[in-house]
């Protein structure tokens, strides 16, 4: 299997896109650390799906916004698996509001988890990746980071920030065969989008050439491609997986 012998951590993989990524990386042979912030039961469920299919999984708790917790988590993973090859920065939250009503706490919470979380995690995996002279960092951005979105100034700023972060790291780490890329999902069916009104959904679909919402598995397969040996000459890129909505 392509990722046999590799160890991957997927942040925020108790549910949604993160869970699909964890499962897909496991299916391709990697041992998985399932990171979660609060929902231990859901993280255990992700881990159980992986182990039931014959893979290796370890649920690890850490709020990615907290550097100390992230460092302790990476230590725990290294103790358990002895290496760390693939980091998927997927953990994300939303606190939507139009700017006049967007509270400072909403701004800070979203930037801290979605952007600072990626910094904390990438920094904590530098040592093992630099030593191994191999690594994959994949940041889950969003089309909203490319196009902007009314009511999501904080989320869009964080997701656009991840793209600048991705490109800078790609330049810093290229000489060590560590690639850094971003995947920008469009409208994907998860708990985050389930709550939308039907009318909103049909309006959204009008702008999608493929005329349907994406599945978490379709983000996972792009991530797994970037994690593999075959993507070794791709770095600093943003792969948009959105049914053609932005082009």
């Amino acid at each position: 299997m392509e990722l046999e012998g590799r160890v991957a951590i997927v942040t925020g993989s108790s549910r949604g896109i993160g869970r699909a990524i964890a499962i897909e990386l496991s299916r391709r042979g990697a041992a998985i650390a399932v990171n979660y912030a609060g929902n231990a039961a859901a993280a255990q469920e992700t881990a159980a799906v992986i182990t039931a299919a014959g893979g290796r999984a370890l649920a690890v708790r850490a709020d990615v916004a907290d550097q100390e917790q992230v460092e302790a988590m990476m230590k725990q993973i290294l103790n358990e698996y002895g290496r760390l090859d693939i980091l998927v920065n997927n953990a994300g939250i939303t606190r939507d509001n139009l700017l006049p009503r967007l509270r400072e706490s909403d701004w800070d919470a979203v930037l801290n988890v979605n952007l600072k979380g990626a910094y904390n995690c990438a920094k904590a995996v530098m040592r093992p990746m630099l030593k191994a002279r191999w690594g994959r960092i994949i940041n889950i951005s969003s089309v909203v980071g490319l196009t902007g979105n009314a009511g999501q100034a904080n989320y869009a700023a964080a997701k656009a920030g991840l793209i600048g972060f991705t490109k800078s790291l790609a330049r810093e780490l290229g000489s060590r065969s560590i690639t850094v890329n971003a995947v920008a999902p469009g409208y994907i069916m998860t708990d985050m989008t389930d709550g939308l009104a039907e009318e909103t959904k049909s309006k959204m679909l009008a702008g999608v050439p493929l005329n349907r919402f994406g599945k978490p598995e379709e983000i996972a397969s792009a991530v797994a491609f970037l994690a593999g040996e075959g993507a070794g000459y791709i770095t600093g890129q943003v792969i948009v997986v959105d049914g053609g909505m932005t082009m």
Binding site: L130, E172, S175
Partner: protein
């Protein structure tokens, strides 16, 4: 030569891929040993691990030659 020198030399040889005889006290990491900025960061990380030290950025920036690293470590042991 001191024990510290020998341990540091081993790390430098491994990190920078240079020959042991090139690692002289007066050798500059950048000019003589061909280190780039990421090499220096990795070297500092390896030294911190080997000698169980925390080398702050302001100190790391001042270290340019092999002899300065030896002196720095010996002063803190």
């Amino acid at each position: 030569m001191s024990a510290v020198f020998n341990r540091v030399k081993e790390i430098i040889v491994e990190q920078l891929g240079v020959e042991p005889e090139e690692v002289k006290l007066e050798a500059s990491f950048v000019d003589d040993l061909g280190a780039d900025s990421l090499d220096i960061v990795e070297l500092i990380m390896a030294l911190e691990e080997e000698f169980d030290l925390q080398i702050p950025d302001e100190d790391a920036e001042k270290i340019r030659k092999v002899g300065e690293v030896i002196k720095y470590i010996e002063e803190r042991k």
